[in-house]
């Protein structure tokens, strides 16, 4: 693994080198061993389950894709990307990037992975007919071309220091160029044994995986149990060995069992209250301020998440993030201040529906909490719980007040540009701040780490002060696992080690 100096600067990382990741409760000395077959229960699966990384829409898809395919880079627990299929990734201007591929990597059908496959895998996102989930991100690929059998060049439409991080997402995993649509034939740690959309996926160890000695497990069966209690029961009954998305209320049950453990992943995942700035009465700055002061964050952390959350401050960068700005003052529950804002806004006694849904985790209960305090400050909120089905297309961002839910993004730039830039499609609250937009573009191209942190810090202050989005807490992701399953650590990009547990986990039987 060779990192050039430019790449170090380009990827915005100060240090290189492998971090040893201590597993939960097992001594660092314990050596991973091979063998073992486990079953994993995810949250949902349906006929839309896919083998195409570009179309991955759910955690179940991501896990499946990371099992079958490899990507150019890989994000580690410290939220820094490392070259993976790429041997090196470098850029001088953060516009044109040169990538050298690892040699001798083979697809499971035996064919060697070459630059043609990578070019195909990146370019296909630009085809609207494919329906790629990251089409809007891929739009910045002005040009992707092969540079010999094992090299390629990517030219971006604008400077972006985060390209290595972007390429670590499951959607940019490499698929063979000679297949019309991906069939599971990849260069990942596992090979496809059985795939039934909506039922299960079975993968078995890839004996010719390009990383020596990996993976450790022989076989993984991926199923989905939508009912959380059913999922926990299945774990406790020994029918599955690993489950995703444990509710905080269930942690007691799992911890009481001597054979099972919880993997807690503090993450930038949040459920936010959206107050549209282009609609009334939510466009009123005092109203927004009042609502932000009506949120009992410690109560939400305690009652809704049983402590498995980090208190948020109405901006999307969590305290454990390298770019977190601790100088932004914490908003707290302050009824007097809220009443003062309500009085100033002239909206006392206003009746307003809040749209929430099980689709946005915890939003229904958050709405109930807000409703309680709103009544004390003279705001009458009506909780409108919508079914998960159709929530995102019909209700999210469509009403003055609704809830959204944002999954962890690999970079600060992505979350800011997708959710907060004035012209972003998902500018949830519809706020417009030219200063913010300017800072965002500047930070993206900025190579100097300290300067970058400064820019992101100011953006956090702007969002906190002016944006119509309230972020009460960052939600920890909780996975439950059999204690014999080792090597599990937190990667804050998602549950199950950022969906990549298959590459790390081993069975200690």
């Amino acid at each position: 693994m060779i990192f050039t100096r430019r790449s170090l600067i380009g990827s915005g990382l100060a240090a290189a080198g492998a971090l040893t990741l201590p597993g939960i409760g097992d001594p660092a000395r314990a050596r991973p061993r091979q063998g073992g077959s486990i079953r994993v229960a995810m949250q949902s699966s349906s006929t839309a389950d896919t083998l195409d990384p570009a179309k991955g829409a759910m955690a179940t898809d991501y896990v499946r894709h990371f099992c079958l395919y490899s990507g150019l880079t890989r994000m580690e627990a410290d939220l820094r990307p490392r070259p993976f299929l790429a041997q090196s990734i470098a850029s001088a201007d953060r516009i044109t990037w040169n990538i050298a591929l690892r040699r001798g990597v083979r697809f499971s059908d035996g064919r060697e992975l070459t630059s043609a496959d990578v070019v195909h895998s990146l370019r296909r996102h630009l085809d609207p007919k494919l329906g790629s989930k990251v089409a809007s991100i891929a739009k910045q690929f002005a040009e992707v071309r092969a540079d010999g059998r094992h090299g390629l060049v990517i030219r971006l439409t604008g400077a972006n220091a985060d390209l290595p991080a972007i390429l670590s997402q499951s959607h940019f995993l490499i698929v063979p160029a000679d297949e019309e649509k991906p069939t599971g034939n990849g260069s990942g740690p596992f090979r496809l044994a059985d795939f039934r959309p909506g039922v299960r996926t079975v993968v078995t160890r890839n004996p010719e995986y390009w990383r020596d000695g990996e993976p450790y497990l022989d076989r993984i069966e991926i199923i989905a149990i939508p009912d959380e209690i059913g999922r926990v029961n299945a774990l406790l009954a020994g029918d599955v060995q690993l489950i995703i998305a444990v509710q905080p209320l269930s942690t007691r049950r799992i911890e009481r069992s001597s054979q099972h453990g919880i993997l807690t992943t503090p993450s930038p995942l949040y459920t936010d209250l959206i107050m549209r700035q282009d609609q009334l009465p939510t466009g009123n700055a005092d109203f927004v301020a009042a609502v932000k002061h009506l949120i009992d964050r410690p109560l939400i952390k305690r009652a809704l998440f049983r402590g498995y959350a980090t208190i948020g401050n109405d901006q999307p960068i969590p305290p454990f993030h390298p770019y977190y700005n601790p100088a932004v003052p914490q908003t707290v529950l302050d009824l007097d201040r809220a009443k003062w804002h309500v009085a100033r806004s002239g909206l006392k006694g206003v009746r307003l529906p809040i749209y929430c849904s099980p689709a946005a985790a915890g939003s229904v209960d958050m709405a109930s909490v807000l409703q309680e305090y709103g009544a004390q400050a003279g705001l009458e909120f009506a909780v409108n719980r919508m079914p998960a089905d159709g929530y995102w297309s019909t209700h999210w961002m469509k009403h003055p007040m609704s809830f959204g839910n944002t999954n962890p993004r690999p970079t600060a730039d992505l979350v800011f540009s997708q959710f907060f830039r004035s012209d972003a499609e998902w500018n949830e609250s519809g706020w417009k701040n030219p200063r913010f937009d300017m800072l965002l573009t500047e930070a993206r191209a900025e190579a100097d780490e300290a300067r970058r942190k400064e820019l992101y810090g100011e953006m956090q202050q702007l969002v906190h002060d002016h944006c119509g989005v309230a972020i009460p807490v960052f939600i920890n992701m909780l996975d439950g696992h059999d204690r014999r399953l080792k090597g599990m650590t937190a990667i804050p990009l998602g549950g199950l080690m950022g969906y990549r547990f298959a590459e790390y986990a081993w069975w200690d039987a």
């Binding site: 006929t47 839309a48 609207p128 007919k129 989930k133 990251v134 089409a135 809007s136 039922v199 059913g230």
Partner: protein, 326 residues
């Protein structure tokens, strides 16, 4: 008095089947129209749902065209109808597979679950129903009445979860999820189905038992029962050989209705036990706006319902010589 011509059971049944077949076709048509209409009220379409939040308008338009969703609703409906008439339910918009294949994967599971449940619940329900009919007004009758009512009223998810807690988590006897696959042995499959079957049975047993009780109690008041007793026929024999043949019509009808519930109504049980059945497939089809799949599921539920009712009627006719000869 009729002549001495031999009466063939088929004489009574064949025209009925013919008539039912015709009206079943009409009902199926109605169902397809109703499902198409109400699903048209749903916000969004398959293209939008497939692409999700992040889709660009061009992507949605392209996929819409690919899926044929840019054609007017009526055109799509009749195209679908035309396909059905030729025996082709079309292509699933989301799974990108023929609907036939998607359903072929799930239907056997649903039928198996229903069959197991029927196997367990029907004899039990009959036993309970007959027992309470015989002891009409007695202590046993009253106890069974309260028990069956309670069983109906307890939410299915509570029964299912309690079952899992006791038999899977506590006792480790049964799997907590249904692991139905081709490579599972028959014994594993049966074990896998045990808890789903238990949960479904609780609901349907109560319904069938109550109907059985009513049907048997009704017959027990008939003069022929007294006559049989006065011939010195033991009570057990009276119930089995005299009452049952006459009560079988209404009972089979109740059983048919309950069994039809086992397919579409199993959604909660399918969700809790991760059972790959048709109901969750249909919910899937709703959420992903996969109309051809949704329509096909609705057709299947309807057809099975109609078939069960028809079978019930045929059984009722075969059990009743008066109807048989008509």
């Amino acid at each position: 008095m009729s002549g001495s011509a031999p009466h063939s059971a088929m004489f009574g049944v064949l025209p009925l089947i013919g008539k039912r077949f015709a009206s079943a076709l009409i009902t199926l048509l109605l169902v397809s129209a109703v499902v198409f209409t109400i699903s048209g009220l749903l916000p969004g379409d398959a293209a939008q749902e497939t692409l999700g939040q992040s889709a660009t308008p061009e992507q949605v338009a392209a996929l819409r065209h690919e899926m044929g969703l840019d054609r007017p609703a009526l055109t799509r409906y009749f195209a679908w109808l035309g396909g059905i008439v030729q025996g082709d339910p079309g292509q699933s918009l989301v799974a990108n597979l023929p609907v036939r294949e998607v359903i072929a994967e799930r239907l056997p599971n649903s039928l198996m679950l229903a069959a197991f449940t029927a196997l367990v619940s029907v004899p039990l329900a009959l036993a309970i129903g007959i027992a309470s009919a015989i002891s009409r007004g007695g202590r046993l009758d009253r106890t069974l009445n309260v028990l069956t009512l309670t069983a109906v009223a307890v939410p299915e998810f509570l029964v299912a979860t309690l079952g899992v807690l006791i038999f899977s988590v506590k006792l480790l006897w049964l799997p907590s999820i249904a692991l139905v696959s081709e490579d599972a042995s028959l014994w594993d499959t049966v074990r896998s189905c045990a808890l789903p079957v238990l949960s479904l049975s609780v609901v349907v047993i109560a319904q069938m038992a109550r109907m059985t009780r009513a049907a048997v109690a009704d017959q027990l008041d008939r003069p022929y029962v007294e006559m049989a007793r006065l011939k010195g026929v033991p009570f057990r024999r009276v119930v089995l050989f005299h009452v049952m043949p006459n009560a079988v019509g209404p009972i089979v009808n109740a059983v048919a209705l309950s069994l039809s519930y086992l397919l579409g109504g199993a959604i909660i049980v399918e969700t809790i036990f991760n059972f790959p059945g048709l109901a969750s497939l249909m919910v899937n089809a709703v959420t992903s706006r996969d109309m051809p799949l949704l329509q096909a599921c609705a057709m299947i539920f309807c057809a099975i319902y109609l078939m069960l009712v028809l079978v019930a009627d045929v059984v009722a006719i075969l059990a009743n010589p008066r109807l048989r000869a008509q």
